[in-house]
């Protein structure tokens, strides 16, 4: 376990450190997240009485688009400066590279979401102080990160890579979006853990299935 865990953490640390030094991705994703709320608020006519029913949908639309935006950049730096080749030559298993990249994206997205959630709670007028909501956000973001990392590794090599990722990403993560919106609606409405019903297990199944498949497939994507 130690053999897998250490390289994963080193990769996460490297990527987060790079990000924290420049901060351009964090800033742009945060600003983008605020813009999404602005657009949806008027597109959906978020009148005072309706915000509890609309808020989870807006929340997840913002998170999903922000995830694509962040994931689009996950391999760009490595691709441009040959860092990925370096990683692939180093004595680190492909699984560790994949898990490191996915964990980076997860941590990054969770940080962005943690910053956005209180702002959304104020602007959309719902209570974010709910363990179930936080759990839903964690599981949903994990699903985004796992699938997004795999597709990002592919999309970064294709022509028009910024366009390719959403085309690959959105149809596949649709179950996560549906389940997250449903679970969040219940969590915001004050339901208990049992009251969330089958939605959290559904996200859990999605996460588990792709956590098993994606590292295996990733090895083929990055091979020479």
């Amino acid at each position: 376990m130690n053999g897998l865990l250490r390289p994963v953490l080193v990769i996460v640390w490297k990527d987060l450190l790079l990000e924290l030094r420049s901060k351009d991705l964090v800033v742009s994703v945060l600003v983008f997240g605020l813009l999404v709320v602005l657009v949806f608020n008027f597109a959906l006519n978020n009148a005072p009485g309706r915000s509890e029913e609309l808020a989870p949908g807006i929340l997840w639309a913002a998170f999903a688009f922000a995830a694509v935006m962040a994931m689009n950049r996950a391999f760009v730096r490595d691709q441009e400066q040959g860092g990925l080749e370096g990683l692939l030559i180093s004595p680190v298993s492909r699984d560790a590279i994949f898990l490191g990249k996915a964990l980076t994206s997860l941590v990054f997205m969770l940080l962005v979401e943690a910053a956005l959630l209180p702002v959304y709670a104020v602007m959309l007028n719902f209570s974010a102080l709910s363990f179930n909501l936080v759990l839903t956000i964690f599981l949903g973001t994990l699903g985004f990160a796992v699938v997004g990392t795999l597709f990002s590794a592919m999309a970064v090599q294709t022509r028009s890579r910024e366009l390719m990722l959403p085309v690959l990403f959105f149809p596949v993560v649709l179950p996560v979006i549906i389940a997250s919106v449903e679970a969040s609606t219940r969590a915001v409405g004050g339901e208990t853990f049992i009251g969330l019903g089958r939605w959290l297990p559904l996200i859990g199944v999605f996460d588990a299935v792709f956590l098993v498949i994606c590292p295996w497939i990733f090895a083929f994507v990055v091979e020479e």
Binding site: L150, Q157, V167, P171, P175, I178, V209
Partner: protein, 242 residues
């Protein structure tokens, strides 16, 4: 020109597997149309429009089977690296996209008179739409990849991930639907019962479309082998300095 024609396509001399398949499919399709319009009884509730069913359902089932072929071909390609498997998956995906498109269009035309709406976010319809999107992405990532071999791998990845994802999509929409029932349900939403003759015609139509599918895949695969042959000749020409 004429002499080299026979040289490059020796198969045109004898009836190839493709020609045989085309003949069988054609005959089966004629019989199929006869069965659909002459033998199958007119539905007592829906009338003649119910005959769309004999095309729509087999095409929809066939398109799902097509993506099973894509999945199997993708897994085999990643394991064995034989281009043969990639060719099978590629052809099945392209034909599958054609079939899904058709299933969606006939489904919309069916829904209007029967359910009184063009579109409803019903689990089968929604899953079919997602299937279409996933396999369009499959074809896109293949053609946008930097090299052909990379394209084959990326496509295989999408073929596997997409196929695994479809059941999850289906159940998520089923559960979503049980909470958000559609307000528009036509007067005949429940009129799906089939009598014996109808079921047999449907089964025959399905078998016909299996043959049609295999024939289309064969045509697509031979197109691909020609593209590869052309690539090889271009390569030789370039090397010989022309």
């Amino acid at each position: 020109m004429a002499s080299s024609q026979s040289l490059t396509s020796p198969s045109s001399r004898m009836p190839s597997a493709k020609t045989v398949m085309a003949a069988i499919t054609g005959v089966m399709m004629v019989i199929n149309l006869y069965l659909i319009f002459m033998v199958a009884p007119t539905d007592s509730v829906l009338g003649h429009v119910q005959r769309v069913f004999y095309f729509h359902v087999p095409i929809a089932i066939m398109s799902f089977l097509a993506f099973f072929v894509v999945f199997a071909g993708s897994v085999m390609y990643l394991i064995t690296r034989s281009p043969k498997w990639d060719a099978v998956a590629h052809a099945a995906a392209e034909v599958g996209v054609v079939l899904v498109t058709l299933a969606l269009i006939t489904g919309i035309i069916w829904a209007r008179p029967v359910w009184n709406t063009w579109w409803t976010w019903e689990p089968r319809l929604t899953t079919t739409l997602i299937l279409w999107l996933i396999y369009v992405a499959y074809l896109m990532v293949r053609s946008y990849a930097p090299t052909q071999s990379k394209g084959a791998i990326y496509a295989a990845v999408m073929g596997i991930v997409g196929f695994v994802d479809v059941p999850i999509v289906y159940y998520s929409v089923v559960w979503w639907r049980s909470i958000h029932p559609s307000p528009v349900v036509g007067p005949f939403a429940q009129a799906d019962a089939l009598d014996g003759t109808m079921a047999l015609v449907l089964l025959y139509s399905f078998i016909t479309f299996v043959f049609f599918f295999v024939y289309m895949v064969m045509e697509r695969m031979s197109l691909r082998s020609m593209e590869e042959a052309l690539g090889r000749i271009r390569f030789t020409l370039r090397r010989s300095g022309r």
